[in-house]
Symmetry: C2
Subunit: 282 residues, 2 copies
């Protein structure tokens, strides 16, 4: 654990676990480092298996008072937000008094996903917690510049990557999503609320005859780095291959790679490239 020294010496690390593979990776990393954890598993989001073997409690997204109680009762002072949370409608949120108070302060409708996450982190800090980025807990989780596996993008793919980076950054600036799929210069799909996996699935039938198709994923400009960083993992490679794409390009330095060895193995065996691109690149 690279940044272990930064963590408080006492109390378990609190992990607020959303969807995807990130919570499991954080839990495994803590276990390997002998760090105690307490997982607050978000209903409808977190993976049951991933949290089953460690101290945990389930909690609704709208039950902020319960969540804060659980964290304090379990002596948590340092917190990690790991995994995705589909932003629920106000009706589905059923905010408790604490959540209602927070919502009244920050507003809800006006905020995009990133705006909401920033506000949630601010609230947690106001309540006395220290919020840490998941990347600080994971060794070698950042996507480096250049190709991860054996395959490299050809000039056509590079052109699609450059176009995709421009579009994805613009989409991110609007706080809509982080990812786009581009093939031969056209945008097959733009990620919104369906998420990257959903985007990849729906782009399969939209592909045009001919080669190519690239998933491009970037950090939203000004994104809160302690939550909802762009993530790619084995599932991303599998879905990209199934959708007939030729590769994945993501923002180097900003993107977390889950299970890098498996990502490389899958990319090489399916013939896809996975490449880290610096924001300053074309």
């Amino acid at each position: 654990m690279a940044a272990d020294a930064e963590l408080s010496a006492h109390g378990p690390l609190g992990i607020i676990a959303g969807s995807g593979g990130l919570p499991r990776r954080v839990i495994e990393s803590c276990r390997a480092a002998g760090r105690e954890v307490f997982v607050l598993a978000l209903e409808g989001e977190a993976d049951r298996e991933a949290v089953a073997t460690v101290p945990h409690a389930w909690c609704r997204v709208g039950a902020a008072a319960t969540a804060l109680d659980l964290l304090r009762t379990n002596a948590v002072s340092d917190l990690v937000l790991a995994g995705g949370v589909r932003r629920p409608s106000l009706a589905a949120l059923r905010p408790d008094w604490q959540a209602a108070k927070i919502l009244a302060r920050i507003g809800y409708r006006a905020l995009g996903d990133d705006g909401l996450l920033k506000a949630v982190i601010k609230e947690l800090e106001r309540e006395g917690f220290r919020v840490i980025g998941a990347d600080q807990l994971l060794d070698e989780a950042g996507l480096p510049e250049g190709p991860l596996g054996r395959i490299r993008p050809d000039p056509d793919a590079e052109s699609d990557i450059a176009h995709g980076m421009r579009i994805a950054r613009a989409i991110g600036a609007l706080d809509i999503g982080q990812a786009v799929v581009v093939q031969q210069g056209f945008v097959l799909g733009v990620e919104a609320i369906e998420g990257t996996d959903g985007l990849l699935r729906r782009c399969a039938p939209l592909r045009r005859e001919g080669p190519g198709g690239v998933l491009v994923k970037v950090e939203k400009p000004g994104q809160e780095k302690r939550a909802d960083r762009p993530v790619i993992g084995p599932q991303t490679v599998i879905l990209a291959a199934e959708s007939g794409l030729c590769g994945i390009a993501a923002e180097a330095g900003a993107t977390l790679v889950l299970d890098r060895d498996e990502v490389i193995r899958l990319a090489d065996s399916t013939g896809l490239f996975v490449v880290g691109i610096r924001p300053s690149d074309p």
Copy 2:
């Protein structure tokens, strides 16, 4: 036919027919006005039934030489582009010599849909044709400001409309698409290559618990007004209702309404609003 006087007195009106309901409406409007037509029906796009009763020929999108020959042989001098064309990949396009020459001149990869349409119109004008907007041929086809039917957006919907107009305009400026679906402040989906009908279908399962959901459709900034204007019709209302949305907002003045009476009847009977919004609105 409002602008009949503007048309050349001799030769049939050429109609390049793509997908959707617009070609049929243009054909019907010409028939009602006693105007002869010759339809160039694009393979894989135009509706067989819509063109069956008038002089027509089928043509691949990539067969530009054949297309120009057909138009000249049939004494066409005025042309209307009606309906959508999914931009084919270069491989699927199989350009003939004429199309290849045009593509070499204008480039292909670098252009979005709107850029490509502008270039195609320029080429048609270079070849001596006069290109007319479909709206010039259709009576009362423009969406006026305000609600079309009995139902009006409530304040929540108005807030989603305002947000959707901002997002849709930004998406349009990137030449990605014309439409977005917004519910309770979040963007459920952004139209790219799948088109508005595809967007509506895929947004049905993405809706959040609770009320609302609005389709917002605008003209791309700087859009070529003689092709690919935003269109709504009965099918749009049916799909929006099936997807659980509460209404449709589109840019007043810029949007064509196909079969306005049926649109109003469907909107009123399904409880949806259909409202025209001026660009200067919120």
